[in-house]
Every structure is written in structure tokens, then in C-alpha cells.
């Protein structure tokens, strides 16, 4: 927890305001609203198909929401906004790609601009600095498509950071990583959020690797979201309301498990929003 960042509402990096998305006739996101502050680490949690990627695409401007809006640093997002760094869920780099990790990071500086970049010591230095920030100097000169999943993840983070974004979005960066690499990436991102004063929003389907670093949680289920601190959100009553049926939050050996726990909630608020009344424990 970093109270300093939370006490400065003016450093709000991102506000998602009542965003709804319908795809193929199905409501994927339903009035999702939350904010993210600079310097904070926010976990976007949801199971497969919960709409995490869709939500990130809305924030990036790749998916137009059918209702609601996205504010970046307090202003409606411009059509082309490059103050967001993005690490997609699947990148799929060709192993034969004629690019070193270093070249891929350099492409993050101004890869969207027309023309050919003139090499300069300043550019090389900036790239080297980013490679150091993600602890990737060791494999900076290897072919990027042949690096391991965890190594590629670091390079993609450096690629996103080198443009000095205010907001960094990562879509399931821990999928395919073993526990240790996952932890390394998480603490790296935590450090980056603090040191570079940027907001990190990271999606996962499994929240436990983030417990030690998350400042805030956005929990997605059934198209709706609740947000707050871990203690505010990851509770049986709140999540039961979100899911619309009884779920139990269990704390086991420092880990949190969310398990389905009984019949559908009938006495919660009509729309099943957080704050549903405690349910009988009967089965």
C-alpha cells in the first residue's frame, strides 16, 4: 500500500466511467467504472471470458464502448493517445525474426512515426537504461523471438516503458510463466510503478501472485466490476453480489481462494450489486 499516491487525487491517471460494451449481441461489459492513480498497482481480476481484454482494448481506444467514456489524466482520451504502454496477452514473435531484444525495445521509442530513425547515442542510452530497468541486459543481444516467455515479457515491458507512458496496461502477463518468473515480473512492475510514478493496470485470472503488491483491485465478473482495496473487494458478501450467487472467500495459508458456495442469491440487492445482504449458510 502506498498512501502517498492515494492522497493525491489530482494524479488520477485513468478513469473508466460507466463503460458498456456489447459484442455479438452479448453484453460483455456493463457500466464498468473505476479509477487508477499514478504510482499505483492495480490488479484487474476476472476468469476466462470475463472481459479483461475487452476492457483493456476500450482503454486503449481499440474498441469503441457503446456507452460510457474513458478519461486519461482527467481528459477524454484523444483518438490517438500514446501515453499508454501496452503489453498484449498474445504477441507471438517469430523465432526467426531478425531483431534483437534491444531492437524491439528501440522500436518502442517512436515506432509509430514515419521514416527511418537516425541512430544516436541518446537513443542507445535510453534503450540501455530500459533494458537495465527490467533486468534484461543479459539477453539484450539475443534474437527476441527465441527468448523464453518470461524474458520476452521483460522486453515487452521495456518496449512499453521506453515511450515514458503514464499508464501501463498488461494483459495476463503471468500466463505461461512459472511461479518464480511470475513473482519476478510482479515485483519488477511494482518497482516500476513506484520509481517511474506510473499507473500499472495488470489483468490476471488468478489474483494470488499479486496480493503482496496490489494497491487496488478491479474485479470483473458477469460483465460488471467492483473496485477498491483488496480488503474492500475480496470479501464473500461483495463478490457474492457481483456474481449474483453465493461465493465464499477463503484465506488459506496466505492465499485467497474464491469458491462457489451454495444456492443463488435471492435476497441481495435486485441488480446483484455489491452490498448484498449476508446469506443463510444453508446448502
Amino acid at each position: 500500500m502506498r498512501p502517498a499516491a492515494q492522497h493525491h487525487p489530482h494524479v488520477r491517471a485513468l478513469a473508466v466511467d460507466g463503460v458498456s460494451v456489447t459484442l455479438g449481441g452479448r453484453r460483455i461489459l456493463d457500466e464498468v467504472a473505476f479509477t487508477v492513480q499514478r504510482g499505483q498497482f492495480t490488479g484487474l481480476i476476472g476468469s476466462n471470458g470475463a472481459g479483461k481484454t475487452t476492457l483493456l482494448r476500450v482503454i486503449l481506444g481499440l474498441q469503441r464502448p457503446h456507452a460510457g467514456r474513458v478519461l486519461l489524466a482527467g481528459r477524454p482520451r484523444a483518438r490517438r493517445n500514446r501515453s499508454i504502454g501496452y503489453v498484449p496477452q498474445k504477441v507471438g514473435l517469430d523465432p526467426d525474426l531478425p531483431m534483437r531484444a534491444r531492437d524491439l525495445v528501440e522500436l518502442g521509442i517512436d515506432g509509430h512515426r514515419l521514416g527511418i530513425a537516425r541512430p544516436s547515442p541518446a537513443r542507445r542510452e535510453l534503450v540501455a537504461e530500459m533494458l537495465a530497468a527490467v533486468d534484461a541486459e543479459r539477453f539484450a543481444d539475443s534474437r527476441v523471438g527465441r527468448l523464453s516467455g518470461g524474458e520476452q515479457q521483460r522486453i515487452l515491458i521495456a518496449h512499453a516503458l521506453v515511450a515514458r507512458p503514464q499508464l501501463l496496461l498488461l494483459d495476463e502477463p503471468l500466463a505461461n510463466l512459472d511461479l518464480r518468473s511470475g513473482q519476478e515480473i510482479v515485483s519488477l512492475l511494482d518497482r516500476i510503478a513506484t520509481e517511474h510514478e506510473i499507473a500499472v493496470l495488470l489483468s490476471v485470472h488468478e489474483m494470488n501472485p499479486l496480493l503482496s503488491v496490489m494497491d487496488r483491485v478491479v474485479y470483473l465478473a458477469g460483465g460488471r466490476a467492483v473496485s477498491g482495496t483488496t480488503d474492500q473487494v475480496i470479501r464473500s458478501d461483495v463478490l457474492s453480489g457481483l456474481y449474483g450467487h453465493r461465493v465464499e472467500v477463503l484465506h488459506v495459508a496466505g492465499r485467497i481462494l474464491v469458491v462457489a458456495g451454495g444456492p443463488a442469491a435471492t435476497n441481495g440487492s435486485p441488480d446483484g450489486l455489491p452490498g448484498a445482504a449476508p446469506l443463510p449458510d444453508a446448502r
Binding site: 526467426d96 531478425p98 531492437d103 517512436d110 515506432g111 509509430h112 512515426r113 530513425a117 527465441r146 512499453a160
Partner: protein, 291 residues
């Protein structure tokens, strides 16, 4: 004869540069379909008696636009196949009415560099310069959207426009190269040298330079051999390109193997069937140890 060397040099430079992106983007199929579509245009031009370069250019650009607009989100194998068969159908129709031009048709298919006249050099040079300029302007977004299309889109790069622009560059490159190496074999010049180059170096800039160098060697050798033997130049371009690619892969495979050694030194020799003889592997491993 001098014209042959000049035009072949220009063709090799363009094929090397444009081919780098063809291989990078996995656009080999469009790179095959556009020249064949363009060939139909040339056959049509011969039929109505206008410059075959004009017919090539028009049909190549039409094929490119068809492929680009019908293909969806980078997937256009079906659109490409349709464009290809539509153009070939036209080509068949045009050919059936132009039997007396058989030698010219043959040279469009398989290449005829030795008969290039000085007046033909200028349009080729113009098209080549346009291609190089376009690639230079598009360079960074083209690279980014080829490698990581989603990130490129998030940064405001319009991948669909980049795609169309690139296909048009490919079409122009095709129009200038087909009369020299032929519609059926231009493809090999755009795939072989760049594919070999990317196996040989992990740097994008160096890979483009190497791709051009290999394409130059290929066409120069092909001209010399074609002149000696009187066999079609396309035959030599195709075989030398394939050979370059094979050698590039082989060299790369050997290198990759010794790169991997430090990580799995104990298992590599036992588990990988294609490993080189142990003494070589050990010698290379020693050289790399300081890392």
C-alpha cells in the same frame, strides 16, 4: 549487355528491400499472386498493343488492392487465391488470342534480361526509386505493425492502411521486376535472399543490407550463367535463391545449436538428433564462455 547489368542491379536492390518485408510479414502468397496477376496484365497489353510495363503495373496494383481490401485483419489467403485465379483466368483469355507473341509471353513468365533496351531503363528506375522512397517513409510503422500488430494499433498506427500501402509497393516492385526475371520467378528473388539474410543476422538493418547483397549476387551470377549457357535467367535466379536460403538456414541451425549449448550443455548432444560432432560443439562452447 550493359543494360542487362544495370536493370538487374536495380531489380535486385528492390527485391532485396521489399522482400525483407514480404518475409517479415509472411506475405509470401501475395508476393506470388501479384506477379502472376500482373502477368495477365502484360498479356493483355501485348494483345491491345500498349507497353507491357503499363499492363503489368495496372494489373499488379489492381491485384494488390483486391487482396488488401478483401483480406480481413492480415488474413488474406482466400482473397489472395481469388485474386490469383481471377487474374490467371484473364491471362488465359488474353493468351488464347495472342499466339504470335509466344516469345514475348515466354520472357514475361521466365524472364529476359539480355534484351533490355535503354528506353526501358528509365521507367524501371523510376518505379524502383518510388519503391525505395515508399519503404523509407513507411519503415518504422511497417516494421512495428509487421512484428506486433496489436501494439502498433494501440499506438495509433493504422494497420489496414499500412497493409494496403505495402501491397501497392509490392505491386510496383513486381511491375518493374517481372520483365527481367519473369512472373514465375520474381517470387524466388523476393523470398530466397531475404529469408537467407534473416537467418544470418539478428539485426533488422543488417538483414536488409544482406538481403540486397544476396539478391545482387544472385542476379549477377544468374546473368553470367544465362549468358554462358543460353538457359533462361529465371532458372538460375530460382536455383541460386533457393540455394542461398538453404545455406542460410544451415548456418543458422549450426549457430543456434551452439548458442543453446551453455544452457543445456549436458543434454544437448545426447538429445538433439541434428547436433554437430562433439569436438566442434565443444570448441565453440569454449569460445563463448566469457559471457
Amino acid at each position: 549487355m550493359q543494360n542487362a547489368w544495370i536493370v538487374a542491379t536495380m531489380v535486385a536492390v528492390i527485391a532485396g528491400v521489399v522482400g525483407f518485408f514480404v518475409v517479415l510479414r509472411g506475405s509470401a502468397f501475395p508476393a506470388h499472386a501479384i506477379p502472376n496477376g500482373a502477368f495477365a496484365g502484360a498479356a493483355g497489353a501485348v494483345l491491345v498493343g500498349v507497353s507491357s510495363l503499363l499492363g503489368l503495373g495496372v494489373f499488379a496494383v489492381l491485384s494488390a488492392l483486391g487482396i488488401g481490401s478483401l483480406g480481413r485483419r492480415g488474413r488474406h489467403d482466400v482473397a489472395t487465391a481469388l485474386a490469383l485465379v481471377a487474374m490467371l483466368a484473364c491471362g488465359a483469355a488474353f493468351l488464347s488470342r495472342t499466339t504470335e507473341y509466344a516469345p514475348e509471353i515466354f520472357s514475361l513468365l521466365f524472364g529476359e534480361v539480355l534484351g533490355v533496351s535503354t528506353t526501358e531503363l528509365l521507367p524501371v528506375a523510376g518505379l524502383g526509386a518510388a519503391c525505395l522512397l515508399a519503404v523509407a517513409v513507411l519503415y518504422r510503422p511497417l516494421l512495428l505493425s509487421s512484428v506486433m500488430p496489436e501494439i502498433a494499433e494501440a499506438k495509433g498506427v493504422r494497420s489496414d492502411r499500412i497493409e494496403i500501402a505495402f501491397l501497392i509497393v509490392l505491386a510496383l516492385a513486381t511491375a518493374m521486376t517481372v520483365p527481367v526475371v519473369g512472373a514465375l520467378l520474381i517470387f524466388s528473388l523476393m523470398i530466397g535472399p531475404p529469408a537467407a539474410a534473416r537467418a544470418l543476422t539478428p539485426r533488422p538493418g543488417a538483414a536488409i543490407a544482406l538481403s540486397v547483397a544476396l539478391a545482387l549476387i544472385t542476379v549477377w551470377a544468374a546473368i553470367a550463367l544465362s549468358y554462358q549457357t543460353n538457359w533462361p535467367i529465371g532458372f538460375f535466379v530460382g536455383t541460386i535463391s533457393a540455394l542461398a536460403y538453404g545455406l542460410g538456414r544451415g548456418w543458422n541451425a549450426a549457430r543456434t545449436h551452439h548458442h543453446q549449448l551453455p544452457h543445456s550443455a549436458t543434454f544437448t548432444d545426447a538429445s538433439s538428433p541434428g547436433s554437430p560432432a562433439p569436438p566442434l560443439g565443444q570448441r565453440r562452447q569454449k569460445r563463448r564462455r566469457p559471457i
